[in-house]
Amino acid sequence: MKTLFDKIWDSHVVSTIEDGPSALYIDCHLIHEVTSPQAFAGIEKRGVSVFHSDRTFATPDHNVPTIDQHIPIKDALSKFQVDKLTENCENHGIECYGLNHPYQGIVHVVGPQLGLTQPGMTIVCGDSHTSTHGAFGAIAFGIGTSEVEMVLASQCIMQPKPKKMRITVNGNLADGVTAKDLILYIISKVTASGGTGYFVEYAGSAFENLSMEGRMTVCNMSIEMGARGGLIAPDQTTFDYIRNREKAPQGADFDQAVEKWSELKTDEGATFDKELVFDAHDIEPMITFGTNPGMGTNVNGQIPILSTIDSSEKESFKKSIDYMGFSDGDQLIGKSIDYVFVGSCTNGRIEDLREVAEFVKGRKKADSITAWIVPGSKQVEKQAEEEGIVEILEEAGFKLRQPGCSACLAMNDDKVPKGKYAISTSNRNFEGRQGPGSRTLLASPLTAAAVAVSGKIIDPREVAKL
């Protein structure tokens, strides 16, 4: 009896060192401009060539501007890094979706939408949110640059096998409660470090009823509880999503693949090192108030009172809410917000934009809000244009920018100024994540849209009622 994770892991082990890691075979390797240049330099210095250039795919995302992508990047260092990616890919025969390519985008949005991401695969990328791809029933996790070099050189990495955790959420999410709220709720319960050492399987009807995009949002944030990754057993929803995607098997090959993929589930009676069970009915729209993604509460809740915090954590809790300019016991509803960011590999997909558009249709952006709405990829951008989302947004006072990671990590110009508050659909609220001194509150695209309209923290269900 095996878990889904065991089945995929065990079938990818090339060899195992006694009391050490295994050489794990990697089916699909994604790279971007920031964590790959030193890896290419490394293999070149060793005189080793790329072992399987057809298993690596590249796109620049972290560093790219989100306006005027048709002209050369102004920031010299960013330009150098993006050019270096193109050059390295050309030199080593790797497919690269560069700026202005119709497939360019955030690497974790690009992989699934091209059909590169498939059930049963091992997928790595020099980026911690590689866990996103676990939504398809794949083992997908982030790696460091030395490991990127390993994959380029040998199509393998050295990895100790993680422990296994299953998180089951039964029941259905209520109206106005989204996949983002579900994962923020889980992280608030498990804490930012509670998943360390584990690979998570998400099970139960709350996940089964999600679309693929919702499942990606969930798996994306597995790393925010410290887990290496998270995965969900593939089902009809998964297969329907993959069908006809460019890099997926086609025709009879697809049917054959589905037959194989259908076996990818945890056997009844297989055991996990840890099991957690939650009830979907307990989940409401969530928001974070601190400087790690575990510091979250339902949007109508309050910041915990200092005296209720475990003594060993008091100091860091205090440091965190001081940074945010909050006090313990504060109510979050009604607090003024300056920036709204909708985008990132967590919530920069077409369904997210649809949700925002649907909400803001017929409403207006609050004057006090600066909003950045950034599609996750060129394909998402195109779809948003075709579906009329761009116009709806414009009528409501928003503008769709061009694809990239943008304010998720603020490596480009999209930086939230010091001391300003941002509601962000991304995945990290660390100090300075969205620009030095910026203050980030994580929430769903729906909550972000409601805040963009009202200028204040608000329960999206309240606005919808108006």
């Binding site: 150098f80 982030g142 460091g144 640059t145 860091s316 030095p436």
Partner: protein, 197 residues
Amino acid sequence: MALEKFTTITSTAVPVPIENVDTDQIIPARFLKATTRDGFGENLFRDWRYDESGREVSNFPLNDPRYSGQILIGGKNFGCGSSREHAAWAVHDYGFKVVVSSFFADIFRNNCLNNSVLPIQVSKEFADKIFASIAVDSNAIFSANLSDQTFTIEGTNESTKFDISSYKKECLQNGYDDIDYLVSIKDKVEAFESTRA
């Protein structure tokens, strides 16, 4: 490519007793635009070390003249967040050879091991003892002995064992790296591939 060989490190230590230190704090994203591995030490803990006008924040431990050494003592859940190896490069480039914490994030721990920095996980109680001994004497000496897998507060009886896989230990001691190993088993990888086609 041979890495630096790790030997016993005996040194004073720099305490950063903050929990959940994420790699965005260790090296903020805006400094990730370099295409080499060098020079990141300058921006280690940049936004805690310097204010916005570039002046040193005097009470941050790295700026405190009382603290120095090759050992960094961090709070619980050290190195969480982004997988950027630049964080390990920054720690190494600044001059640290050992990082001690009561709890490490997985990817950061791996990244350290791949860059000749030894991550030592100790119990919460032992971490408290380390912080306490630095509070009493900022020149307190510690020693990280890889072959015995012990971390010792010198001049006291306080010593603790730490875990490391024997493979990684050997790699560190001999300066081997995983890439050499993986390239050397290429025939095994090819044999593996032929079984799945």
